[in-house]
């Protein structure tokens, strides 16, 4: 037989061999055939294969959580109102509900309507409606609902992503998930991090302020917010150690620098106040029990003062103190200074909060879903899964052999089923799909359906005596394939709803996608090849 006709008559088997070789290369050759790093760049691969593993098999934490807040839709139309009116509505809501500036938002949405949002769990819908009416809003067309707007969610997801990255946790992702009945969740996945830590990171909204704490004319002390993290700070450097405490070097925006400098001079921080701060801030909280006048700049995170510092004058040779340059009105030309923190952890989270910005709204941890697993335990699962997978293959092989007692039929069947799994694994390695327990279930399902179909093919081909001609074989194989195709179609249809992004049931999506992929690989590649192998073994040529 010449090479061309050999290829022609065995092309199905050749295709299987090609697929399996690709899969093996993708699986075992380091850096084999790999998609770009963007998908799961984090997971440092230490295992013998190129497979990526998901949280359940690698360790880490996933939190699904809704956003806490109320939204009043259709408060006005953008054609009828200007920015001044929007600000007026917002400040009325703030004063009516006794909220801080960060807890409300009034803005124009993409469709031209105006929406008002309140980000605080303590406000009821009635109170919100009353506050809107107090702001002279025509509430006839307004609907108030739980949750926040898409813009707010998008903004929060971005902030969370920055927060995770800034915390030095590579491989973490934040994304949105919507249930069919219209509930929105923010999903945060971070490998190698405990539930406690991640919750801590997310439950801090991270609103950073610099507050001036100074004596008034009547001898009392008072507070005044002089800088707000997000609006006034342009650039943040990583934390540095300065003597006993930690600082975060920041640069103030030019727009805010002059006002800040002026204010500091007006409040006498740069004259009487130099070095005049003795508040004790051991242990991360500031103790306001003091005697005498105090001029302190407080670092405040989420309304919680974490450190207090005075302004320094020229204390070190060659360096101009902050107070000096402010007094000389030179500071605003190069407006940078240090924000204080007590310990390294505080400084780290301060720096993260300043860089990532604050979360627009708090997350509602009352209604969340948490999955967290220790790396060691996840590793056990990895080995158990492998073992369960092997056990299933061995069992199936045993039953198949017991049924046919003919190695010519049973052996290729087992080899083909294994080839199917290898191809799928290779595919997973190529697209760097992080494997989880649900995928393992999918694999076992694939072995199951795969062998079922091979049984159909074998029985059909061998029915009614020996197969002695190619034509008989072809016609029988085609008949068998009708059933195989029909069975594959039903499996795909049954799994399709789960695989679709509209009906996300979390863990099950991976299972469904893998089962469908496995069925497709089976019908298009491995099962036709099995037919060819069987033909070669059964027809005498």
């Amino acid at each position: 037989m010449n090479p061309i006709s050999a290829v022609k008559s065995h092309w199905r088997v050749l295709m299987l061999v090609v697929f399996v070789s690709f899969a093996v290369v993708a699986l075992f050759i380091p850096g084999g055939i790999v998609a770009d790093d963007s998908y799961a760049a984090s997971t440092v691969d230490s295992g013998p294969t190129n497979l990526e593993f998901g949280l359940g098999l690698e360790g880490g934490t996933r939190i699904r959580v809704p956003v806490d807040g109320l939204t009043a839709e259709n408060v006005a139309s953008s054609n009828d109102v200007d920015q001044a009116r929007l600000d007026e509505i917002e400040s009325t809501i703030q004063s009516e509900l006794d909220l801080e500036a960060a807890d409300t938002s009034v803005g124009v949405q993409d469709d031209g309507t105006v929406t008002a949002e309140v980000f605080s769990g303590n406000v009821t819908e009635d109170e919100f409606a009353a506050a809107l009416e107090a702001a002279d809003v025509d509430t006839s067309g307004t609907t108030i609902r739980e949750g926040v707007t898409q813009n707010t969610r998008d903004d929060m997801i971005q902030t969370i992503q920055t927060k995770i990255n800034a915390a030095g946790l590579s491989g973490g992702t934040a994304y949105e998930q919507t249930t069919p009945d219209g509930n929105h969740y923010i999903v945060v996945e971070v490998p190698n991090m405990g539930a406690e830590e991640l919750r801590q990171l997310l439950s801090e909204r991270g609103v950073v302020e610099v507050v001036a704490y100074y004596p008034t004319a009547d001898g009392n002390q008072t507070n005044e917010t002089v800088l707000t993290g997000e609006e006034d700070i342009a650039k943040v450097d990583p934390p540095e150690q300065q003597g006993g405490s930690y600082v975060v070097p920041v640069q103030v925006r030019d727009s805010a620098a002059d006002t800040f400098q002026q204010r500091m001079n007006d409040l006498n921080f740069t004259t009487d106040g130099v070095g005049m701060c003795s508040l004790d801030s051991e242990g991360g909280t500031v103790d306001f029990d003091h005697e005498g006048e105090q001029y302190c700049l407080l670092t405040v995170v989420d309304d919680e003062p974490i450190a207090a510092h005075s302004m320094g004058d020229d204390t070190r040779p060659g360096q101009t103190g902050l107070a000096t340059s402010m007094r000389n009105e030179e500071w605003a030309n190069d407006p940078s200074f240090w924000m204080g923190a007590q310990n390294q952890q505080d400084a780290q989270s301060l720096s993260i909060n300043l860089r990532a910005g604050s979360l627009r709204a708090p997350l509602d941890f009352e209604n969340d879903q948490i999955y967290s697993i220790e790396a060691a335990h996840a590793d056990d699962f990895k080995q158990y899964s492998l073992l369960i997978g092997l056990l299933s293959v061995v069992t199936v092989s045993g039953v198949v052999y017991g049924r046919y007692t003919d190695a010519r039929v049973a052996l290729p069947m087992i080899v083909t089923a294994i080839a199917e799994v290898v191809i799928l694994l290779g595919f997973a390695a190529v697209i760097r799909m992080p494997l989880d327990l649900s995928h393992v279930a999918g694999f076992i399902a694939v072995v199951g359906t795969g062998v079922d179909d091979l049984v159909i093919i074998a029985d059909e081909v061998m029915a009614e005596g020996d197969v002695n001609s190619r034509r008989v074989f072809q016609s029988r194989f085609r008949k068998a394939f009708w059933v195989v195709g029909a069975a594959a179609a039903t499996t795909i249809v049954a799994m399709a709803p789960l695989a679709s992004p509209w009906l996300s049931l979390g863990d099950l999506q991976g299972f469904a996608i893998f089962t469908i992929l496995g069925v497709l690989v089976g019908v298009l590649v491995t099962r036709p090849a099995y037919g060819d192998i069987l033909r070669a073994l059964l027809t005498d040529r």
Binding site: R64, T179, P180, N183, A195, E196, R199, N367, Q369, I370, Y371, S372, E374, A376, H377, D380, F381, Y384, S385, L387, I388, L391, S392, T395, V396, V399, R403, T405, L437, V440, A441, G448, T449, V451, D452, V455, D459, A463, W482, V483, A486, A487, A489, T490, T491, V493, A494, M495, A496, P497, L498, L503, S504, L505, G506, D507, L508, F511, A512, T515
Partner: protein
């Protein structure tokens, strides 16, 4: 060497009515169990943590199993896994943070086993979140079932053989659900996956049977026997694989795989009965009497 062959059943000894009676009776009992449960408990099957909310902790501790509950405010369900000193604890509380603190409390908490972490894994679902998963799960099963039925009709384009497939698939779903109620297996994401897989898996043997009887020449009983040889081999192979997977996963404490294995095993067993008694007798009636009418 283990060897088995599919026995030939003498179907002509039984009337259609006799053959149909058994699977229909089982189906009726299953439906009765589910509706009774619905009336008494409010749900046809017990809802697991994924749908009702709750917390599951996997702990590694040297505290004996019967003393574990005293560490917590709420009495947990304790299941030992095959690993030494490892237990799965189930709570209805959704405050996973508080439970973790109770478990790791230096005085009243659990004893640390060497230097491994006490809490190995936490999984917690709030009640509202769980409730919101119910609808998509139901929808997924419904869409899958309708899709499968549409394919059945598309493949055979005649009413009786197609509806026979749909009825047996329906029974294949209902029987494992009733089994869950009776044995107290809660509905979880894993069991939903099992049920969906069952929709795909169980109709294979029905399609095979219909195909052999309707689309091939030859005597009805001969076609049936050939379809059975293949179909029973398929189903039994799958059943054994699922049984092994289910038992192994249960021993290792991997819930997801254990529930998929159990549901599929029971469902496929039901499928054997439904295909070769219910579907078969409907087909025989269609072949010998239905065609002319």
């Amino acid at each position: 060497m283990a060897y088995f062959d599919v026995p030939e059943i003498e179907y002509n000894r039984y009337s259609n009515r006799q053959l149909v009676a058994v699977p229909l009776a089982v189906l009726a009992v299953a439906l009765l169990v589910l509706s009774g449960s619905f009336l008494v408990y409010g749900t046809p099957v017990p809802l697991g943590m994924d749908f009702a909310g709750g917390t599951e902790l996997t702990v590694q501790t040297t505290t004996p199993a019967d003393e574990i509950p005293s560490a917590f405010d709420e009495e947990p369900g304790v299941t030992a896994t095959s690993s030494e000193n490892q237990y799965i604890l189930q709570f209805t509380s959704t405050d996973s943070e508080a439970l973790r603190e109770q478990a790791t409390d230096g005085n009243t908490g659990l004893e640390q086993d060497g230097d491994t972490e006490i809490v190995q894994a936490v999984s917690s679902t709030s009640a509202s979140f769980g409730q919101q998963s119910q609808q998509p799960a139901l929808l997924a099963i419904a869409v899958a079932f309708v899709g499968m039925s549409a394919i059945a009709f598309l493949l055979f384009r005649t009413f009786v053989p197609s509806i026979a497939i749909v009825i047996s698939a329906f029974s294949d779903l209902v029987i494992p659900l009733a089994f869950m109620r009776v044995t107290g297996i809660p509905l979880s994401l894993g069991t939903v996956a099992g049920l969906l897989m069952l929709i795909g898996y169980s109709v294979d043997s029905d399609i095979l049977l219909n195909n052999h009887v309707l689309r091939r020449s030859g005597d009805f009983y001969e076609s049936t026997y050939r379809a059975m040889r293949t179909g029973v081999t398929m189903t039994v192979t799958s059943m054994v694989a699922m049984l092994v997977m289910g038992i192994a996963a249960f021993l290792f404490g991997i819930d997801l795989l254990a529930s998929i294995g159990t549901i599929l095993f029971v469902g496929l067993a039901a499928d054997l009965m439904n295909t070769y008694m219910l579907n078969l007798s409907l087909l025989r009636w269609y072949k010998f009497e239905g065609v002319r009418s």
